[in-house]
Amino acid sequence: MLSSRARATSLAALLAVGGLGALATPAHAAEGRATIATGTDDVWVGDKLDLSGTCSSGTTAVITIEQEEGVVALGSANVTGGAFKATVDLKKAYFGPATASVDCLAYGVEKPVAHATTDFFIDDEDWPFEELEVAISQQKVALGGTLTVSATCPEGSDVAAILAGNEKADEAFFEQEVTPASSGAVSARIKIAATDGVEPEVGDALAVVVCGDDDMPMPQLLGDKAAAGKLLADEEPMTAMALEEMFPTALGMAEFTITPAVAAPSAPTAPGTGTATAPAAAPSSTRAASAAPQLAYTGSEPAPLAAIALAMIAAGGVAIRRARRA
């Protein structure tokens, strides 16, 4: 179990780098005159969540709480003076991002007369994963250089995945499945170079290590292959593969910075081999700072690698809940 501080930090990091916004994003009305807001930023699985907002007078506010798996809570409230206050029970909710929406219903009218949504995050006291301490060989690495990532998976883990990517990228430029040693140790040398068309960029990056147990594949844990299939289909193939093949039991990450490539006076480092060994390719920040960018990088679509990790956590949360229910 993580300390609350570690968890908060980890979560905040995930959210921040994942581009998922703050814990509760501002409410906005999609149409009509409706607003909705959560009563608190600290929303927990199993709690009652207070919401408030506005709807047209004479309507009834119907609240829907939705997560990736679908609707997890419904509630309703009368609208008095154009405002409503409602409470919904989050007993069916699970760890992860959520959306609260209000539909303002008039008595004899089929379609809601107004609608608004707000995003928030549902936390869980039972952190679904063990946190891994992820070590990296250096904090800064130049484009074309290498970085060693290592961690120790918990007992019982028989598979692990190591990924690396820019914080705001939706695809990793490095991914590798690793079999943990008997001690649980896993490591990989990461080449800061394009893989399968994904270009690393100068800037903040993450190395993520996920440990799992492939005896408990995600679909089996979810108990519903169709639901699992949908869940996985929504993710990038890499994540889908990781989720399909193992149940995450532990997760950790480390931040590092990618610096511009070092000018290479002699033969350049051969690209594309994830295990290239070139200690010199781990430059100091001074050297990196003084070097002009040499490698052509077009820049990938900005999107969150960490969202992948978050999705894994959320999916794991679902799985754990279901496993417990079963």
Partner: protein, 327 residues
């Protein structure tokens, strides 16, 4: 040599045979006329029922009929239009009752009542209360049942307010029992004493539509503990009694003649289908194979029925492979 008497009997026998033949022929013609008359009457009765264009979703095994009680004020005339006037629902139509009758291939009939306020499509682009989908027409109801609940149907019949009134009147009224004086101002229902009440068609309609009844107990109007805001219990009570009392071809003919123009049917629902529907409805009501989909009804100004895990269970036997809707 033939016996003289015998020769005299032959013409008599021939005459008798001719008589029998004529009588048989007359009986046959009479039967034919009756059959033709019945067929013509049935055709006329069915023809009096307007049709609506519906592309049914289909239910697979057996036949599923969607029976709707419309609250359309626009389809009312004369005094009825004033009697049931409601500024909030003056235009369009919504389903006050949503009944699903399923006849299996083996002939077993079941009736399922789905609360009209069942909230469907939550989290999607089109959240709504099921019965209000009738605003978009019978096809929209069929589509919502299939797309939101996973239930397919083969035929649709929509009964107007007046249709229920006429049906009950044709059946000679229905009998209900109350524990005390009962009223429901919104439904325009007022029964002044406790005990058994014989209701005519208009009173029966008010009885069925009543969602907020109050009973006078110890000088105070109170909401009865067994009130059914889904309207199902009263609807089944009234329909069951009406079906019981329509026990002869004459009463059936009279009821269909009066109520027919107030019943809209899908264009694929002909005389045979209507007969099967009537028989199935009667069978389900008589055998007690009637159930209501459990929901969690809110106490809000606009009532909303939220689905529960029991909602899913109740709908499961009616689900159709071709319809992928789920709560």
């Amino acid at each position: 040599m033939p016996h003289p008497v015998t020769s005299l009997d032959a013409p008599a026998r021939a005459t008798r045979r001719d008589g029998l033949r004529r009588a048989g022929l007359a009986a046959l013609v009479a039967a034919g006329v009756v059959v033709a008359a019945v067929a013509a009457d049935a055709a006329v009765l069915v023809h009096r029922m307007p049709t609506v264009a519906v592309d049914p979703s289909g239910s697979g095994d057996g036949t599923a009929y969607l029976l709707l009680a419309s609250d359309s004020r626009e389809r009312l005339t004369g005094a009825d239009r004033q009697r049931y006037a409601d500024a909030a629902q003056a235009e369009g139509e919504r389903a006050d009752l949503v009944l699903l009758l399923r006849r299996t291939a083996a002939g077993r009939a079941e009736l399922l009542s789905i609360p009209r306020d069942l909230y469907v499509g939550a989290g999607g682009d089109h959240p709504h209360r099921l019965g209000l989908a009738l605003e978009g027409g019978a096809q929209a109801m069929v589509d919502s049942l299939c797309g939101n609940l996973g239930v397919g149907v083969d035929h649709v019949a929509v009964l107007d307010f007046r249709g229920l009134v006429d049906l009950v009147d044709a059946a000679g009224g229905v009998t209900v029992k109350t524990a005390g004086p009962l009223r429901d101002r919104r439904a325009r229902l007022a029964l002044d004493s406790a005990g058994v009440h014989h209701l005519d068609g208009s009173q029966a309609l008010a009885w069925v539509r009543s969602r907020h009844p109050e009973v006078l107990v110890d000088g105070r109007w109170r909401r009865p503990a067994d009130a059914d805001p889904t309207r199902t219990r009263h609807a089944v009570e009234v329909l069951g009694q009406a079906a019981d009392r329509l026990d002869s071809p004459l009463t059936v003919q009279r009821a269909l003649w009066r109520a027919g123009p107030r019943v809209r049917r899908d264009d694929g629902l002909g005389p045979r289908g209507l007969a099967a529907l009537a028989l199935g409805l009667r069978s389900a009501l008589e055998s007690g194979r009637v159930s209501t989909v459990p929901v969690e009804l809110t106490e809000t100004e606009v009532p909303v029925a939220f689905p529960t895990s029991e909602t899913d269970e109740a709908l499961e036997p009616f689900r159709t492979p071709g319809c992928d809707g789920a709560l």
